[in-house]
Amino acid sequence: MLVLGQDEKAKYPFLADAGEYLKDKGFSLVQFGSDPVLKLSVEKALHRIKVASAGGIYKSDIDKDGQASKDYVLEREVFSFLLAIVLIKLTGMSTLIKRFALAEARRAEIYLEKDLGNASNKSKIDLATRIIYDLFNIEITKENDFFVIPVSDYLKHSVTFHEREWKLINRHVENGKVFLTPDKTVRLIRKELGNYISSKIINAPKPSMIPGLENIVDELISISKKLTPTYTITTGEYPPCIKHAIDVLEKGENLPHSGRFMLATFLLSKGQTVPQIVPLFKNAPDYNPRVTLYQLNHLAGTSGSATKYSCPSCEKLKTQDLCFITKECDNIINPLQFGKKRT
């Protein structure tokens, strides 16, 4: 178990056992609804959530000198985090949980990066690497100015990123290890950090309403409702990879198994039925109606393991030489998104 100093608790409040912290300080949650001094922490918590829901990162008072030297600064930091969770739980809005967890993760990221990059303070580096090891089981060692992690650990985290710079080919790789700068090291675990914080929120027990905080909770609910998701319009046109696959088949040329898989899963996802899809494969050089039907039913989940297969991502199709990207693709990450416009 990590032993945290004062300023670490303020920087990484999600690591502290907040409930115990409150008890240690001799407070109960109910007091925050009525005590005028503690109300300051409530306001701070509200501010913290508002900033997060607007997509920003909350700036705390410890940033002013980098250290929560004074007790009350530390206290307010931890209290406001704890209260923010309580308030979000009271609203019951999952949109708020997501936004808050992401913003808090990015806030923690800033401190982790600073601590890792702090060449003069070994204990800070040790703590940051310990946090990363304890939470995410990634062993980081320092080699000169770089942080070094095993390639397999790097891949486990980087595969969810879509920016090309995160591909292994764009990293310095040597002897089974990836060399990263402090900011990249921390960026690598952003999602997990967000998941860690949101799971903490989700798993926290839902408190009963604290008298005096009703208005704040109502305000948060209305903020959350305004964050309703966007809707999409579809042009109905097929993406270039699918067009290409259909083209190949129509010419009676051979489409590799992976291409057939892509085409079938795409069309199934678009709502076509197996009998509608079968004729597409009639021109294939090795066409066998029995095998085609069996495989399509398998993909549709109507036979075999009942797993419904989904259309591969653009990234995977690139690896399989099935991607024929055009500018109309517009940064989509799966062919199914092609032609959809968010409004």
Partner: protein
Amino acid sequence: MNGIDIKFLEDSFKKYYFNHFDLITSPQRTSEREFGYQKFNSGMFRHISLKDNKELHLLFIQNIPSDVYCSNAYYAFPNSPMSEKDWKEADLIFDIDAKDLNLPCRKNHTISICNECNEVSKDTGQCIKCNSTKLEKKSLPCKNCIDASKIEVNKLSNVLINDLGIDKENIHVYFSGNEGFHVYVYDSQFQQIGSKERSELVDYIMFRGAIPETFGMKKFKPNRSLFPDFNQKGWNGRFSKYVFGSKSKRSKIISELLDNGYPSFQKTLDDVSENIGVKIDPNVTMDIHRIFRLPGSINSKSGLTKILCTDLTKFDPYADACFLNDEPVEVLANCPIEFKLKNKKFGPYDNEKISLPTYAAVYMICKKLATIA
């Protein structure tokens, strides 16, 4: 394939299996693997679990399979359906196949067999007799194909050892029994990574998805001091050797690259990928549930054995992987291309009845270029 041909192949395979159990050994942790096999003219039998060598040899003798396979994955329940097997980990496997290397020699030894009228002709787009486009291609790979594949194996080993930190002892190279090599990596840090992660490894090894910034070319305010150098490890060093050629040319070529600009640099990277990226089959490495031809078993596409190559440089598949006997057998052969087995030349044959040693007859029947007379 007709019944007489099948009977002949089965008899020949059976004799091999009886005499060469020493070559067929079950892989490490046998009981955690999934096995599968095929018989001539029938589908695949999968989801088989075996305890040890004894059970494996029994499978060969009882079924006289045309092909036998074993998973690279380790499962808690290898004989359960796919979704219930409980995947634990999988060896990392690479497939290098001469047919993926775009070699100019291929057109000289690729044959088209028409699915409609069985006409055999040299590589064409449509049947010369009935104009059908439904053709089956068969290749009789030449020495050049094997040598080019070996070069790729060596390139792969280099990246595995130097970049990915794999111990040389944990890399095993097998001749696939037909047109290439299977490279197995055991006990690495990659045992437990999934399909997506393996796909990333593939892109790294093939040099795909590189951005100009990685190799020193910035979009704005490019700076020549960022370009890689010869003594650097990994792709940076290999890039330097390929693109700059020699140390004396480095500076001049960097100037050219800077003059040509950022979009042109992407083309340089594509060229690098094409020339020094390792040509592996990405689908094979990405698949963590695949079953692979079992070492020591015969490949029914050729009658040759999948076998461990202890000295890759000296390895000659047409001598070292050909284990069938030389009892003579009469065949009707239609093979427009010459080939060599056990250091003997055969063909070309133009629809002629001839007597051949069993190993050569099997080779041609497997390639659908002959039938028992």
